[in-house]
Amino acid sequence: MSLTVLSSSPMLTVQDRGRPGWRQYGVSAAGAMDPGALRLANALCGNDAEAAALEFGGFGGRFKTERPLRFAVTGGACDIRVGERLLQPDESHRLEPGEVLSIGALRGATWGYVAFSGGIATPEVMGARSTHLRFGVGGLDGRRLQDGDALPLQEDAPGPLLRAPAPVPSRPDQPIRVLAGPQDDYFDATILARLESEDFALTAQRDRMASVLDGPDLPARGGHDIISDGTMPGAIQVPGSGKPIVLMAECQTTGGYPKIATVITADRPRLAQMPTGTRFRFARVTREEAEAALRQATGALDARIASLAEKPADPFASDYLLSCDLVGGIFDPEALMEGGPS
């Protein structure tokens, strides 16, 4: 039983929690750009946190299924339709064979997730299903999905349709928090201060590997070449060109540019989700503050998932009716003319 991609979008891939354990062999973990949104999508479908789903950048695409299933879209606001029914993100919905699911453009976010009950069952490679695009590992033949691709689905168990409580409102003007280092000593104090006192912006040069930023010059007093050492997602590399590069989920495992600071784990999804062109500030925090922020973010997501509520059983009681354009449907004269005798 499979799911068919009727029309794809440019950055549609299979992702799961990632593939840890292979960095010493040159392969970064990959996995979702916004792991919390993936976890929520899986929970809404009754899936394990380990299940694989689809990640899309910008807009979703169109899909059909061979078996009845439940699905959920998370990551941000966007138009979701099954046939003519307009549906909400952060809820699960049913999709029947013969119906077409369309997911439009994200508004105010960059990465969206579609989970399906049971999960996507492409083969595990090195212990995970995540697509690592740069190395062609995992997912469907290690690549972006294309029109016509068929994805195997894992068997699912019957389950209710669920709805997530509204998230804690995000504060878009909050700075992105960083820990200085590991090569902060390559930069003078005045340059380090610029990291916090000036605006940065996300350029269009961004993908699952890294994001290039616009911002002030950050010249390194020790030069911009180091003997290559290990990198991590969130590390802010400063090459000689001056444009800092924030490494993301699919980053290279080693690099030869000094890393002035590293975005804290709690704020990495927020950075990933910022629309291109967003201006923001960095703020330095201590390791203890970063750890507290991660506990807080993880706790908030745990609490949100623990309070998923069952949707009303009668489809005509709630979102179905609200989403139907009843007035337009009945009083559209052309529809009446077409439907009636000539």
Binding site: Y25, G26, M126, G181, I226, S228, D229, T231, P233
Partner: protein, 251 residues
């Protein structure tokens, strides 16, 4: 190789434990390329893998530092630092058996794009070049850049050759390369500015193999010249799913 080893200084001050975000630290043993520094990096990785602490995720050896990745929800960074400090000052480094790989190389064929040019540029004839390249023992300093791509130190100075200013678009897996002072076995097809003198049927990386990666940091490598026919026979056995290379364990 690029500067004098600073191991003595490092040993006196102890390695620096630098934060790499809130989920990793970089244990920096020095800031130069040096086999002793690299050995210290790999020894610490071995200690951690032998007896991982609660919350340990993985360790990534590089030339002169070890990235230690952990789950900060399980173990706070302050504790990781203290733990690593204990391991570093414990001084009880286990003797690590070293693996030696003998890589069959056909110095010729379509991947040997630069064999003749390199001989000319380095003022040796092709036979001498092969003898130099296959006469040395190499050290895997680290794996990076691509899956299973080993950065090899130990290239004889007579063969040091700058990389191309403009990388070539597609170099096959198995191509035997030289880049500056380093040597390589290309692990995946892709663009490269390195110079190439031959090819091996050995695949450093194969995701469908029981062990996807052959080499690890700290391994030793030697290249053994083989004929085009021998290389082709080995490639056929490899394609039939046979294991065509295993490492010798040195003590």
């Amino acid at each position: 190789m690029t500067s004098t080893p600073s191991f003595a200084d490092t040993a006196r001050q102890g390695p620096a434990i630098l934060p790499l975000g809130d989920s990793a630290v970089s244990v920096e043993f020095g800031r130069s390329i040096d086999p002793d520094l690299n050995e210290a990096v790999i020894a610490l990785a071995a200690v951690l893998e032998e007896a991982p602490f609660e919350g340990f995720v993985e360790a990534v050896p590089t030339y002169r530092s070890l990235v230690v990745i952990y789950d900060p929800l399980t173990v706070p960074g302050r504790e990781v630092e203290a733990l690593l400090h204990d391991k570093l000052t414990g001084g009880d480094r286990p003797a690590r058996p070293r693996r030696l790989w003998r890589i069959p190389v056909h110095y010729g064929g379509p991947a040997a794009l630069d064999l003749e040019d390199l001989a000319r540029e380095n003022k040796v004839d092709v036979e001498e070049l092969i003898a130099l390249h296959s006469g040395a023992e190499y050290r895997v300093y680290m794996i990076g850049f691509a899956p299973g791509f080993a950065y090899l130190g130990g290239l004889p100075e007579a063969l040091h050759t700058p990389r191309l200013p403009v990388p070539r678009q597609l170099i096959p897996a198995g191509a035997i390369g030289i880049g500056g002072q380093q040597a390589s076995v290309n692990s995946v097809p892709g663009p490269s500015g390195w110079r190439f003198i031959g090819e091996t049927p050995v695949r450093a990386y194969d995701p469908d193999r029981a062990t996807p990666f052959l080499f690890a940091a700290g391994d030793a490598l030697r290249f053994t010249p083989v004929s085009a026919q021998e290389a082709a026979d080995l490639a056929a056995r490899r394609d039939a799913g046979e294991v065509i290379l295993t490492a010798a364990v040195l003590q």
